[in-house]
Structure formats: C-alpha cells, structure tokens
C-alpha cells in the first residue's frame, strides 16, 4: 500500500508543482526536491520496516498488494518487490534527486510543467520496477515513456522534435511487440489452465513448449533490447541523449536503460529460461558487437553528449553479455554494472550539462584547456571518465570484472572480445577528457559552484564506495 501511495504522491506533488509555479516562481523545484527526498526516505523506511517485521530479506518476490482491476480479463493491480527492484528503485531515487539539482538553473520555460513531467516519469519508472501484473507493467511502461518524450520534445536542444519522435517511435514499435507477447502468453495461460491471467507469478508456473516460448521470448527480448539498447536497434539513443535536456539525459542513461536490463532479467530469462538459453549465443553476439561497436562509435563523435551516449551502448553490452551467460558471478557483475553505469553516465551527462551552461556548446571542438580555469571540474571529469573506462577502485571496474570472470567460465571467446572493449573505452575516455579539459585554453569558464559540487561529489562518492567496498551492493545475495 505504501508503495502505491508513494507513486500517487509523486503524481500529486507533480501536479502541485505545476500549479504552484504559477503563484510563486521558483517553488516547483523546491517542491520536487523536497517531495523526492521525503518519498525516498519513506521508501527506505518502508523497505527496512517490512524486512524487519516480516523477517524477510527480499530474496524472493514479496507481493505487496493485489487488487482486482479489470475483472473481465482477470487483470489485477499487483505490485511486488525483491532485491533487484529495490536496488534499481534506490538508484532511481538518487538519480531523480540529481535530476532536480541539475535542472535547477537550466530549465527556464514552462518550469512547473517540467517538474510535473519529471515526477511523472519517475513514478512510471518505479511502477515498472514493481509491477508484477503484465498488463500493469505495460501500463507503467507507457506512463514512463510519454512524459519522457515530452521532456525531450519541449526542453531539449536544437533537434528536439526529431529526437523525441525517434525515441517515441522506437519504443512504441518495440513495445507493441511486447504487448502482443503479453497477450499471447496470457492466452496461453487460458489454454493451459482454463483462466486468463497476466499475473507474473502465475506465468512462472506455466509450462510452455519451447517452439512457442521462443517466439514469446523474442517479443519481450526485442522490446527490452531496444530499451537497453543493443546494436542494431540502438540508434534512437544517441539522438535522444544528445537532444534531451541534462536531466533527461541523466534519467535516460541512468534509469531508463536499466528498465531494459530489468526486463531482460525478469521477463525474458526468468519467464523463458529454456528459450533464453537457446537464444543465448545470438544475444551474446549482439552484446559483444554492442560493446565493441559502441566503443568505436564513441571515439568517432565530436559531440560530448553523443560520445557519452555511444559509450552507454558499449557498457550496456556488458550487462546483456553477462545476463546471457547464466552464471551467478556474471549476474552479480551485471547488477553492479547497471548501478555503476547509472551513476557514471549520469555524472558524465551532468558534466556535459554544466559545460553547456557555461559555453552553450556540446562540440568538443569548442572545448579545450578548461583545466586552467576550472580545476575542480577537471578533476571530477577525469574521475568520471576513469569510471567509464573501468579504472579499478571505481564501481564500473567491479561490474565489468565480475561480468568478465563469469562470462569467461561459460563462453571464453566472448569474454575475450568483450575485454577488447577495455581498450576501446580507454581510447574514447582519453579523447573525451583531453579534448575538453586539456590542450591550450580556448576560453575561461567558472569552476564548479556549490550545488554542482554536491552533484559531482555525491556521485563520485557513490562510485568510490561501490568500487572499494562492493559488498554494500553485493550483500544482497543475488543468485540466478
């Protein structure tokens, strides 16, 4: 119940913020920040309280509420939590707060409506992570999509309409496939048990023959592969990330991509284990191609945000590769990589936003030598770039290393090619850092302000904490 209230509260405060901005200028961001902080604390309190009172560590899905919604089709409002969703929701809260902070000065038009959209997206994302009725899941999947599209289309950069449209069409087309798969699986449940059901836990009990389940699996897989994204359906991402406002990019890279990985884990691998195993060589190939191709494409970019966007493709390739290795080590690696990439790419996009605010350009050719005037910013940029190229001591290294160790036990050739991505990431990381902060100073910029220091500092602290003491995250005894 608390969880539903939290989502409702996000919607309500979003609407309030929208209205409040009309009366008191500048109130929307405060409202958003406060409500996010409060709700995040409420969520944490709820989880801890539940864990203590039920003496449960969320290793299994804990169904929190189950209410009939559309009786005719046996569709229920049912939500549940387990360790995976808790970790991802925690990441969502953190990045949501970061999002408000990076938007603080950046958003100047339709401020109230902006925060409404932002909070609505976050509500949708949380919904995606908790829904266990597939119809409800699909509903939240769309809820998070629409306001996100609005954020890109209204507050984005010069080619925002194009990017928003592309983002929308890619996601829509792929989620249509998922809808078909959802309905088909529900219908299959009808055939097998005599009752229509979209309830995830019911589906887990289904015994679907391989020749059917492989098509159903493919429907889900394509939807999540687009979201992840994986080559060859990745091309919405560079445009959307580049054109979105900073908070949009942070949210997209930090959390929205993770919904793809989450879907792969929960609705592809767990629902259709056999079909996934059979499909693994293809998925792993796509993942490896994404790793190498993403790194190569990142190197070719001239646009700061586009470069980071392609690096995301490369990193999410590691997640997919690790997931399709069906190995507990690799699975842990995938989880850590998801969180680490959420933090590091969010940090790099926030950095891009800070630079954009100062020089009104994302072009690396307009940058250079910023270290001279903004040494703190340079230090953070280096650390974040370091996280991206897998510097040990930062979170991404743990994720990549665990993934590689796991994958190597199952498919060594793939692990070796994926390891080559480490060279590629060093190359684009160097290009990114050196082109912006080293070289002859092209202009003077102001160093980080206190608000920006909080953003960068907290992200770096998290990256370091997970990198040096990953047990923080791994204490949740993840197991496939």
């Amino acid at each position: 119940m608390t969880l539903s209230l939290i989502m409702l509260a996000l919607l309500i405060t979003g609407a309030l913020a929208w209205r409040a901005e009309r009366y008191w200028q500048g109130s929307a961001k405060w409202l958003a920040l406060m409500s996010l902080a409060l709700l995040a604390i409420t969520f944490a309190g709820f989880v801890i309280n539940y864990a203590i009172s039920h003496n449960n560590d969320f290793a299994q899905l804990q169904v929190l509420s189950r209410i009939n919604w559309i009786k005719t089709f046996n569709i229920q409002y049912s939500i549940a939590l387990d360790q995976l969703s808790i970790v991802l929701i925690a990441l969502t809260w953190l990045l949501a707060i970061i999002c408000v902070l990076v938007s603080w000065r950046e958003i100047k038009r339709h401020v109230g409506f902006y925060y409404f959209n932002l909070l609505l997206t976050i509500a949708g994302i949380i919904g995606v992570f908790v829904a266990v009725d597939m119809f409800l899941f699909f509903f939240f999947w769309e809820v998070m999509l629409l306001p996100m599209t609005a954020i890109i289309a209204i507050w984005g950069h010069e080619k925002r309409y194009f990017a928003a449209l592309k983002f929308f069409i890619f996601t829509q087309v792929s989620s249509l496939l998922m809808l078909v798969a959802i309905i088909a699986t529900g219908y299959f449940h009808l055939l097998q048990t005599g009752q229509l059901s979209f309830y995830y836990l019911d589906w887990l009990l289904l015994d679907i023959p391989l020749e059917i389940s492989q098509y159903l699996m493919l429907g889900f897989f394509i939807a999540f592969a687009v979201k992840l994204p994986s080559v060859p359906v990745h091309s919405w991402l560079p445009d959307a990330h580049t054109q979105a406002p900073t908070a949009g990019s942070v949210l997209l890279a930090g959390v929205l991509l993770k919904t793809g990985a989450y879907g792969l884990i929960r609705f592809v691998i767990f629902l259709f284990p056999q079909a996934s195993v059979q499909f693994a060589p293809i998925a792993a190939t796509l993942a490896v191609v994404s790793i190498v191709y993403g790194a190569k494409m990142a190197f070719a970019q001239q646009d700061f945000k586009r470069l980071v966007a392609y690096s995301s493709i490369s990193h999410m390739g590691f997640v997919m590769l690790a997931l399709f290795a069906f190995n507990s080590m690799a699975y842990q690696g995938a989880i850590v990589t998801m969180v680490a990439h959420g933090l590091s790419s969010a940090a790099l996009f926030a950095m891009a936003g800070m630079i954009y605010q100062r020089i009104h350009s994302r072009d690396l050719a307009d940058m250079g030598g910023f270290w001279q005037s903004a040494p703190r910013m340079g230090g953070f940029a280096l650390a974040f770039a370091g996280a991206a190229f897998g510097l040990p001591g930062l979170a991404n290294f743990i994720g990549e290393f665990l993934s590689l160790v796991g994958v190597f036990q199952v498919m060594p050739e793939f692990a070796i090619i994926a390891a080559l991505g480490l060279i590629g990431s060093a190359i684009y990381g160097m290009v990114l850092f050196q082109a912006s902060f080293q070289g002859a100073p092209k202009r003077e910029i102001i160093d980080l302000q206190s608000r920006e220091l909080i953003i960068c500092g907290s992200l770096l602290l998290m990256l370091l904490a997970i990198g040096l003491y990953p047990m923080l995250l791994l204490k949740f005894s993840f197991g496939v």
């Binding site: 190569k296 507990s328 080590m329 370091g386 510097l391 160790v405 190359i427 902060f437 070289g439 002859a440």
Partner: protein, 635 residues
C-alpha cells in the same frame, strides 16, 4: 606492526587529498613540506617494516584491510581482499619506491618550485606513490591490477602535466593507450588464471600450479595436459601486461614520447619505479613462469631484442632525455633477460641498482637542462664540464654505473645477470652474446652522450644558471652514493624464489674466458668511442670551424625514430581505426533504419502531391482511371 604495514600507502594518500583539496591556496613551502614529509614518513615506516620483516619468523608480514569481493566458479568461492603482503621481494620494491621516491620528491619540490601548478604536481607524485605501494604490496592479482592501473593513470597525468602543449597530451594519450593494450592482455590472463585455478591470490595460485605440475610429473593425467596448456597461455598473457608497462618489444613505443613530462617524472616513473613493474610482475609470478620454460625462453628473447634495439636507437638520439629513455628500455631488457634465464634475484637486484643510477642520471640531466634554460638537444650543449662541474661529476657517476664499470653497483647487478645466462636452460650462449653486445652498445652510447654534452666546445650562447640549492644537491649526492655503493646492499631473496619445482641442472660447461670478456666489454666500448667520436670530444682547431650536426643519413634517422615501430603501428592500427571511425561517423545501422523514415516520407510527399486540390488534375486522373478499368475489363 600490522597497523604500520596497513598504513603505508595512506600517508601519501592523505597528502594527495590535502593538496588536491586546497590546491593553489597552499604556499610553496606548505605544499612542499606536506608532500615531501609524507614520503619521508613512508620511508621511515618502511625502514621499521624491513627491520620487523627480517626479525619475523617466516619472513612474511600480512595485513588484511577489508574484504573486497568474492569470486566463484565451479571449484568454489575465493575471497578477494584488500590485503597487503610483505615479503623479501616486496620489501625490495617498497624500499626502492619510498627511498628513491623520497629523493626525487625532494628534488622535485625545488625543481618545480616556480611552476604555477606546483601543488597539483606534488599531489600527482604522491598519488603515484600510493598506487605503486598498493601494486607491490598486493597479495592478490586484482589488487595488484588496481595499483597497476593507478600508476598508469598517474603516469598519464604526469606526462601530460603541461597539458597546454598539444604534443604533451598526445604523448600522454599514447602512453595510456599503449599500456592499456598490455593491461587488457593481463586482464584476460587473470580471467584464464581464475578459470584454471579458482584463485587469484598470488601465493595460492603459485602453490596450486606447482602442485598440479608435480602431480603431472608423476602420473600425467589428461586433465593436467589441458592445465599445462592453460598455464602456457596465462604466462603469455601476463607477459603481455608486463611488456606494456615495462616498455618492452612490441609495446615499447610509448616510453620515448613519455619524456614530454617534467624531468622528475621521468626519473621517478619512467626510470626508477613504474616501468619496472613488469619485471616485478614476472618475478612475483615466477611460480607460474617456472612451469613453462618456453615462455621463459620468450621472455629472455624479448628482453634481449629490446636490449639491442633500444641500444641502437639510443645511439642515434639527439635529445638527452630520449637517450636516457632508450637506455632505460634497454636496461629493463637486461632484467627481462635475467628473468627469462631464471636468474630471479639478479633481475630484481638490477632493478634496484638501475633505479638508483637511472634516477641519478635523469635528475642530473634535469639539473643540466634547467641550467641551460630548458635546452634538451645534445647538439646544442657541449663543454659543460667546465661550466657545471658538480653536475658533470654526478653524471659521470651515473654513467659509469650504467656502463657497469667494475666496483659500481651496476657492475654487480649486471655481472650477476650475465654470469647466469650461459648455463641457463632457458637462455644459453646466444643470449649471453646478446647481453655482451648490449653492454658494448651501452658503453658506446654513454660515451657519445658524455662527449656531446660535457666535452668539446660550448655550442650555446646563453650563460648557464645552475640551481645551487643545498637540498637539491644533497638529494643528488645521496643518489650518487647509492649508485656507487648500492651494489653492496645484501639482497637475500632465496626465500622468495625457493620453489618446489625441480629445475634441470645446468649441463653446459662454462668456458673460462666468460667473465673476462664480460668485464672488459665496457672498456672496449669506451676505447672505440674515444676514437670514433673524436669530433664530439675535442675542441675544433683554431681557425677551422667545424660545426657538429646530427647526422641526417637515412639509417640514422630511422634509428632515431625508434626503428620504424611508430610508423608501422600508425599505418597498421591507428590509421585504420581512425578511418573506420571516420567513414562510419553517421552509424550505418542508423542510416539503414532511417531508410524507413525516408520511405514513409516519400509516400507522404507523393500522396500530398496527388491531393493538390486542382480540378483539372482530378478530372484527368478520373478519366485515366476509367479508361484503365475499361481496358482491363475488356481484356
């Protein structure tokens, strides 16, 4: 005592954090005191630790900081910890790192005094020491890799310290990416290692590998044949990592360019400590390497070829620091040669003495360069003997150690290596001759360097302004003393390198003239240079005005540019990668997908064109359609 070991990297870490946090707000004095004293503290602590170590029972100290993460495979779970392990080998390394590091810090504090970013410089130097200490103290390979990448990052930062120059940042990028290629090979090696043994703890891996080997020697089951193959690849992949960091063939190209960094950096990172970690890695993993004599043989050959190649390249350089860089490469070649021959202690011994005299050479070169207003070109020096007698005499000390003249530290260590080559089962007479040839080359390029820079007439017009600070000079003097007498430091690594593997006994009988040849080789080189480089050494006769110019012969230029490796890699790797990136800048997958959008747009346009609201057009279309329909129905 355990606490002291655990705290070792934290003194420079604290100093690094303070310097980074306060940056330019600190005065020169304060920044210098903080950074140098933190290293002094580590020297002190290392000294206590060395004392404790020799007193301890099994000559090993360990301390567990915290549990990092777990790794599992089908054999079970193994913990990867933040754990430090101090034995004889790491003791040598921490002494070198902290001792030489301290002297270089002291030198740097004065040398870099006027730099606007002094505190940032010292911060990086401190961070480097932190990473280096973690590297040599790590008890497992993942922690070692953390230090390994850490020193790489610091090297990158310090090479590009003067980041406003394009050439410096390119050199920094090159160093990072080239070593990263080696690092990736090392990571793959770690993956294979874990897959084979289910462990990444160095001690445990070594024990497991040797147990497996001894079992195989008895019964030779099929599974251990597979394991033997794995060990072969593990050793080869680890060698890849070592080759990258230690600037050996074929990943040596970054080191000469790395000289773009400030001179104390070249002394600390690119001569004394970081570039020798490849040697450390192989010595550390000697338990694995001993099992695969083929790979040891490769190590030896790699070392020997780098030794010769770098020696030839050093002969053609015009920049004083680049001569020293190639010389470093070639001396590390000696260490590799020693490791390949199984002369572990000798290799590590040479690592130590080389750290002393090469640091001395670099720092003295730095002092010379400073005195000449940042002139690094040997052909614009000359006659410094009279103008800079202090620097000259120190440089001579460094050079005689480098040439390994009898009595110096270089002599002891290099002789120790050469003496073991001939009869080693993984080296042999061929490699012995390579080592001798290398020694000859060493003495020739050393003489050429000395003649060009210090003898002859001055080929510059400005006045020299040597730095006369006592602190700076005392750092140099201590290094000079270490270079001269460092060979007398007793180095007992038998405990570290004792193994349960039975190595075949030497079968070759050594001829009696071996030692004589080895000892007189440097003198032959000197004699040869004395006559061959007469021009460089003598002042021109009165009236005649011969100007010394670097040769422009094709072969000399080829050697000067590192024997074509750079050009080759550029053409084979860099250019194709850039080309690939350039032609696919717009992402072929995106273009294919966007064809859909184009297709839809085409229909959109065509249909709009049809619906143009003109009555004539509609009538015509109507008529045409009726005719068509009639025609079809009639047919």
């Amino acid at each position: 005592m355990i606490v002291l070991l655990a705290s070792l990297p934290f003194y420079p870490l604290v100093s690094f954090l303070v310097l980074i946090a306060f940056g330019k707000k600190l005065s020169w004095q304060l920044a210098a005191i903080i950074s140098v004293s933190s290293i002094a503290l580590t020297v002190l602590v290392s000294a206590i630790l060395l004392f404790e170590l020799s007193a301890s029972q099994n000559q090993v100290l360990t301390v567990n900081l915290w549990h990092w993460f777990d790794l599992t495979n089908q054999m079970g779970t193994s913990e990867v910890n933040m754990r430090f392990y101090l034995d004889g080998l790491s003791a040598v390394m921490i002494s070198v790192v902290t001792g030489v590091g301290f002297l270089i810090h002291l030198f740097a504090a004065i040398y870099m005094k006027t730099d606007a970013n002094f505190s940032r410089f010292m911060a990086y130097m401190n961070l480097f020491i932190v990473a280096m200490l973690i590297l040599v103290l790590a008890d497992n390979l993942v922690l070692l890799y953390l230090g390994w990448e850490g020193v790489g990052l610091c090297s990158f930062l310090l090479i590009g310290f003067w980041y406003q120059e394009k050439s410096n940042i390119l050199a920094a990028r090159k160093a990072f990416i080239v070593t990263r290629i080696g690092d990736t090979s090392m990571v793959i090696g770690l993956l294979l290692l874990f897959n084979t043994f289910g462990e990444l703890n160095i001690k445990a891996v070594t024990t497991l590998a040797q147990q497996g080997h001894n079992l195989a020697a008895g019964s030779s089951p099929v599974s251990s044949a597979e394991q033997a193959n794995d060990i072969y690849w593990i050793a080869l992949l680890l060698l890849g990592g070592a080759v990258g960091k230690s600037a050996q063939l074929p990943l040596q190209t970054w080191l000469p360019d790395a000289m773009a960094g400030p001179t104390p950096v070249s002394a600390l990172i690119h001569a004394a400590t970081m570039v020798t970690v490849g040697v450390y890695l192989i010595a550390r993993m000697h338990g694995i390497f001993l099992l695969v004599p083929e790979v040891m043989n490769y190590v030896a050959w790699l070392g020997a070829s780098t030794l010769l190649l770098a020696g030839v390249a050093a002969l053609a350089q015009t920049d004083i620091k680049r001569v020293l860089a190639y010389s470093t490469m070639s001396q590390i070649g000696y260490m590799m040669l020693a490791l390949g021959a199984g002369a572990w202690s000798a290799g590590v011994f040479h690592l130590m003495t080389h750290a002393f005299f090469k640091a001395l050479l670099f720092l003295t070169a730095g002092a010379v360069i400073y005195a000449l207003h940042h002139q690094q070109n040997l052909f614009k020096m000359g006659g410094l003997f009279k103008k800079l007698p202090f620097e000259t005499s120190l440089f001579v000390v460094g050079l005689i150690c480098l040439m390994a003249l009898p009595g110096t530290s270089g002599f002891f260590s290099k002789e120790a290596i050469i003496a073991q080559l001939w009869s080693s089962s993984t080296a042999g007479p061929m490699l012995w001759w390579c080592a001798i040839l290398g020694a000859l080359l060493t003495s020739i390029y050393s003489c050429r360097l000395f003649f060009l820079a210090f003898l002859g007439t001055a080929r510059f017009s400005e006045n020299t302004h040597p730095e006369k600070s006592t602190l700076l000079r005392s750092a140099l003097i201590v290094l000079a003393l270490l270079s001269l007498f460092g060979g007398l430091i007793p180095l007992d690594l038998t405990l570290v390198f004792s193994t349960v593997i039975q190595t075949p006994l030497a079968q070759l009988i050594e001829p009696t003239w071996l030692h004589t040849v080895a000892i007189i080789t440097p003198f032959i080189g000197i004699l040869f240079s004395w006559f061959y480089f007469k021009n460089y050494r003598l002042s021109p006769l009165k009236g005649t005005k011969h100007n010394i110019q670097p040769s422009k012969g094709k072969f000399v230029v080829f050697c000067r540019q590192g024997l074509g490796f750079d050009a080759c890699y550029n053409a084979l790797l860099v250019k194709p990668y850039q080309w690939l990136a350039q032609i696919n800048k717009h992402d072929i997958f995106d273009q294919i997908i966007m064809l859909n959008a184009g297709y839809v747009n085409l229909w959109h346009d065509s249909l709009i064109f049809v619906q143009n609201g003109s009555l004539r057009w509609y009538l015509a279309a109507f008529g045409l359609a009726i005719m068509l329909l009639l025609g079809v129905s009639l047919l």
